[in-house]
Symmetry: D2
Subunit: 358 residues, 4 copies
């Protein structure tokens, strides 16, 4: 199940310490201009080693497109691409050959497949998400043609959280700091926490919030293809994601229906809008033209740079202390991944929405 | 997109006020004994009119199996089934023909399709979930053969919530009260709240928690088919679901990695287990043999028995007061639906897990 | 795998001697007027007992629509339907419980599933194709909106074959005789052959030819979704189909490229057409705007009303003489099934073709 | 639609004159030893420039595996691979930028996508089938573990055809000559014909026959997933394929049912076999344990090295004479492609067959 999507489909491959990662984007609309600088910028936002907050692995993460683009535009044919691994230190992972990292995928992969590439987590490494960022960037280039924009930001790290909603900030400000939180003061506190935790050889989790603007009415396919279901599947497929909600979500449960309902009102231009948007832009699984917003919870990274008790592949108790280069907090680098998966879902939904009538 | 699943697949059809709802279960393993009483019991748990807490619509919800079962056992062929609608009061919905209910699917369906069956919400009605319960009951009959059990319960209504985790209760007790909360005292408070809210013509939301026990190691297909991604898609496809998390989820975000990691330990019988289970039984998208548990947040029902401002299909501001028979709180009836979708996901994952090696 | 199609999807269920057959049509475009008489007429063309050439089983084959249609038009929601079995004589099949009919599916179903509904072939009965005819009729109603028409006819029975191509006949004439061959004299000879073979307790095969007119350029999704690949899958999924070819097909293999190529010429109206159409309307897997035509070979029916040697479920040699009511030649009744599957493929391709550009 | 398969899935990308072709094989069973020499040998059988009968394009067609293989064995993770294009002469195709080759995909791609990579046919080039050969070779390595073998050969070129069936030859002999026909004398006549046609700047078609041995009972998923339907889809997706039949196929249509039926007989070892195998190893869409055999018709190559009338992209009549390097007959090189697609279908069916019972 290394393919995601119905009409706009991403298939990925590659391990953390193999020769390359890569993917195939199928169903890309034809005739879209491909701004390769933009794609690389998105990759750079996810790249390891981009700041003191992230892992020191120095990967350039250069994408090489192999097909599907002709004279600068998409042809409607599949877009194959690869990203070479250039800075893999496999020797750092020798001990993971012999023991299972707690709360990591080593044990389950070994049991499911009877074999695993233990180097850097192999296929289970979050390096795989680089391919999602490439596909997401292509999706965003297409979505822009119809005015849809996706923006994510860090809204919580550990117990430090933004007080406001996405409307209270200039989301572009998130790119001004290394945490990717749009409020400078909170971002600074979050950065301090991450550095503190990192210094302790520990890790910390948090929340990425995301908003899509400019969506037309009609994205989402009831019953099982509800837009929130596709978004949830997309987000929960990201490494370390533990939770998803949209609109009023978990936090709106103390409201009554009369408090949470979004009343329809004429928009003054012959159309219909809503007074509030606690629905998060989706009603009955279909976008209603309002902003779509949701949250994704990420757990603290499982790989710790401190000793932990575990069990070896021989079934005996042992201890393990990771030596590889790891993030103490995935949140800053998860921001472009959340955006990418959101863009993939929305473009897929947009293409599907074109098939409702003949 | 009225089909869910990869190998074990449910396709549903039917509207709230049409002649019948129904579905097709494809990929059901052959040779499973079908306990039709058990299937009907599950439907009865979801049935409207089952208690003073639920809508008064008096539907028998009798399932008629049309295929795929021979001499009491499944044949591996698709199981078609229908549930006749017998107590539809379409006249109650006349005003919905002319105006859009706030936070409901009326508006989005109309715009997406250019036509809608407004009677009782048509296809967007939660009556569709009856078909899921049928398929889920069949899935549970298959899962039992390998020792997998699924149980859900109401853990929060409005601001009343259970303090403990699923391990602190006898989950079978949830069936002893009309709320389906396993602790009698909390259940009573929840019931009081629902009745109070109902009396006010208002509605209230909450959380259904669910646990699957007896799962082998190996369920879930990385990368995009992670078990939590499939569960999230399944749950978020249920009417009124607003959020999903599993394991430590949103509530574990203040923990450090060293606090949240589940250390592996020998299980004393030659196998491997974990000291804790904050992972919720899933690591790297694959079940690790521990209990799988997750939560689903449900918003307050959108249809209120009180007047709300809205817009008519003519684009003019108007007011609407629902006259149909509606739940003030979906939680008690959502319990069997959550169980059903979980069973569908787990059986699908179980079948997929058989194809990993030749 | 009881579902066919990508965007326009048919899922079927039901056995020959169960309570009902049925299906779900998903992805039907919204707003199409449903002429239920037309649908029933198509079913009547496939119905058993319609002439002296077909089985005597007297099934009315009345379709009951259960959803997806509102005030006479499709809503974009799934269309569930059932066809009750009313004339099953299960006692005729008692001997098939104990022995495997030669060249039939009894043996393979038993071994694959470990259980089978032996009555009338159960799920492997060609009665299942009634559901395809319903879906195909709905697809044709949609295709008509854009000027696409599908017509099939019998072009060969045993060694009697039409000399001309589809352009040499008025295809509507095929409905004037019980064989569904558009040339009366050939049809009469075919009918004589079928009756002669029937009298001998034997069976005979042949070819159904089919043509789709009015297709726009652009149907078909290279590489694996080539239009001819989808058509081939559709046709070869019909009971008793043994072969498929399109355009010049098997019969054009003695031509050189210079003889088979279709030269492009200006159509005199600013567009482009081809001088000939040996490509069968498809180039590179994509329709080129010319007529799409193809052939489907059907084997002689396997069930004979004469004694045949076989093996019993006990593994012992035995003999079997079918007592049920069976066709001596499926060709006349296969015509509407071929049309239906073609329409399903074409509508699916049409919907897919709308997603090529944004 | 650049993905094929349900559980064993191949996704391909790449154009004839781009930097590389490639693909992703997903669902490969874990733990299979990868004999990379074997894979390369299969590619070499498809390689251009391998004999005087084929195009002179001198591509090494070296496959580079990028993932999914660890210490020589498959890991169950997706296998990404690329094949660099090294001998593209794009200047040969300049005239194809301005005019549509008759019976080729130039016109349909241009109209469907509004843009096309005209160099060497771009995506529509049969070079794409190299990726299928890689995936097919991997599939064959897995199938061998359970004793399934696939072998194809050229049985007809133009009007020269083998008289016997696959049982009359030693199929390994097909590799002894450049035509890949197992009978030396016929092969020589076929070679002469191809060279004669080539000398005339013309092309010729023919038939590839294929047989799979060692298949267990139970491959194939009725109703729409019948084994013959999957094989037909696979074969008809190959460039230039015009027809498919299996078992007695088109040639058995003059037989009566009593002549074509395969009588079951005890196999003398407690099992069941058939006296004859006109069913081609498939009954009711499911393999019956006998040899599976089928034929694929390939048209004469459309690209001619002689002048043809056509229309330019400007809509004006013009003429075109191809200058690129092209095969006069695809049959010899189609043999490994047919084998590859058959192996892909059979492995997919084998994996699916493991999910029938719990």
């Amino acid at each position: 199940m290394n393919t995601f999507g119905t009409l706009f489909r991403l298939t990925t491959f590659g391990e953390s310490h193999g020769p390359a990662l890569g993917g195939v984007v199928d169903g890309m609309p034809a005739g879209i201009e491909v701004d390769t600088d933009y794609v690389q910028q998105q990759l750079d936002r996810r790249r390891p080693g981009q700041s003191r907050l992230t892992t020191a692995r120095a990967e350039a993460d250069r994408v090489e497109f192999l097909s599907g683009i002709f004279e600068g535009r998409t042809t409607g044919c599949p877009i194959g691409f690869i990203i070479r691994n250039t800075n893999a230190h496999s020797s750092d992972y020798e001990e993971m050959r012999l023991a299972y990292r707690p709360s990591h995928a080593d044990f389950t992969y070994q049991r499911k497949y009877g074999i695993r590439d233990y180097r850097g987590g192999g296929r289970s490494s979050a390096r795989e998400t680089a391919c999602r960022v490439v596909a997401g960037a292509l999706a965003q280039l297409a979505l822009r043609q119809v005015g849809i924009r996706v923006a994510a930001y860090v809204s919580q790290v550990g117990d430090i959280r933004l007080d406001g909603t996405y409307k209270d900030y200039n989301l572009a400000d998130a790119e001004l700091n290394e945490v990717r939180c749009p409020e400078a003061a909170t971002a600074a506190r979050m950065a301090d926490l991450i550095l503190k935790v990192k210094g302790e050889g520990d890790t910390v989790g948090g929340i990425v919030s995301c908003v899509a603007t400019g969506c037309p009415v009609g994205l989402g396919e009831p019953i099982f293809g509800k837009l929130q279901a596709s978004l949830a599947a997309a987000m929960m497929s990201i490494n370390a994601a533990k939770g998803f909600d949209y609109g009023a979500g978990f936090e709106g449960l103390t409201q009554r229906g009369s408090e949470q309902n979004d009343l329809f009102v004429p928009d003054g231009q012959g159309g219909i809008t809503t007074q509030t948007n606690r629905s998060g832009g989706i009603q009955g699984g279909i976008s209603n033209g309002q902003d779509i917003y949701f949250r994704v919870a990420f757990k603290p990274v499982a790989t710790l740079l401190r000793e932990q008790a575990t069990v070896g592949t021989d079934g005996q108790a042992t201890t393990l202390r990771a030596r590889g280069r790891h993030d103490a907090c995935v949140l800053p680098r998860a921001v472009p991944v959340v955006e990418a998966m959101a863009a993939i879902v929305l473009l897929d939904a947009l293409l599907l929405s074109k098939t409702t009538r003949i």
